[in-house]
């Protein structure tokens, strides 16, 4: 049968894929998508823990509530983040992160 570790492993791999995307891709929109992947990976872990730690024969819903909040925050983040990207694109005509280096000291 499927063990908790299996879920955690899958979640971890998904996280790693997202992480690799953040590090390797130069397109800021794709980086953003990869961030969503990482968030989702953590959601999977949370749900898995919630299911495996039963309370009185039911999943521990605290974990799922955290997932709920993460999704809400992620939605807000996506909205704001994309708005920022649009504003940036208007100013710079690019979505390439290497072109966005005005923070260089």
């Amino acid at each position: 049968m499927v063990t908790l570790n299996a879920y955690l492993l899958v979640s971890g791999l998904l996280f790693a894929i997202g992480f690799a995307g953040v590090l390797l891709r130069r397109n800021i929109i794709i980086i953003f998508m990869c961030l969503e992947l990482m968030l989702s990976a953590s959601n999977l872990s949370l749900v898995a823990f919630s299911r495996f730690n039963t309370v009185n024969g039911l999943p521990n819903y605290n974990g799922q509530i955290l997932v709920f909040f993460i999704i809400a925050v992620a939605a807000a983040e996506v909205a704001v983040g994309l708005a920022i990207i649009v504003a940036l694109f208007r100013a710079r005509r690019t979505t390439h992160v290497e072109d966005m280096n005005s923070m260089k000291g």
Partner: protein, 193 residues
């Protein structure tokens, strides 16, 4: 859920996750992400988290990804022109990811509680129904009723928790969404004054 289904959905999820990263075309990446999220939602369902699974599809695969596609279309992003690949950051990123995976594996190897399977953590509706407190005369407990009927009132249970234990947090999340809405409106205005 049998292991086969778990494996299938996991593989779908991971493969399309990889596609997100490697696709040169942002639209293809976005669509891959949708598929990856579908696989993820299936895994949620396999964990008896029906509500979260549905939300994942509705909010993520639906709303958020539409937003992404919208923006990609709006900005009219073509496939990236090939740029010179910087070798050092590339290798660095790959190594870091690999190390992360290695760490993960080694941690999971020694994680004893994680070795129990779903069978060893069965859902017990009767016990759950029994554990619920008594309700006053004249009121009925729909959750208890559902449990007695051997159904998992997933949404109700979540909602009960949310509104009894975390009402304040819920409101904060609401405010956050409001603020972000306002923020987005301001950011999207052409002329910032």
């Amino acid at each position: 859920m049998p292991p086969v289904a778990f494996i299938i959905f996991s593989v779908i999820m991971l493969v399309f996750g990889v596609l997100v990263v490697v696709n040169r075309n942002p639209v293809a990446s976005a669509l891959s992400l949708v598929v990856s999220f579908l696989g993820l939602a299936a895994l949620f369902v396999s964990l008896d988290a029906y509500f979260v699974g549905v939300v994942q599809i509705l909010v993520y695969a639906g709303a958020v990804m539409v937003l992404f596609l919208f923006i990609i279309m709006l900005l009219d992003l073509k496939a990236e022109a090939r740029r010179k690949i910087n070798v050092v950051p590339m290798i660095g990123g790959c190594v870091l990811t690999a190390v992360l995976v290695l760490q993960l594996v080694s941690v999971l190897n020694t994680f004893e509680p994680g070795k129990k399977s779903l069978v060893e953590a069965p859902l017990d509706y009767a016990a759950a129904a029994a554990a619920r407190p008594a309700v006053p005369e004249g009121k009925s407990d729909t959750i208890k009723r559902d449990l007695r009927e051997n159904k998992l009132p997933d949404v109700r249970l979540l909602g009960e928790q949310l509104f009894t234990k975390f009402p304040f947090h819920l409101q904060i999340a609401g405010v956050l969404l409001l603020v972000s809405t306002v923020g987005v409106v301001i950011l999207s205005k052409r002329e910032l004054k």
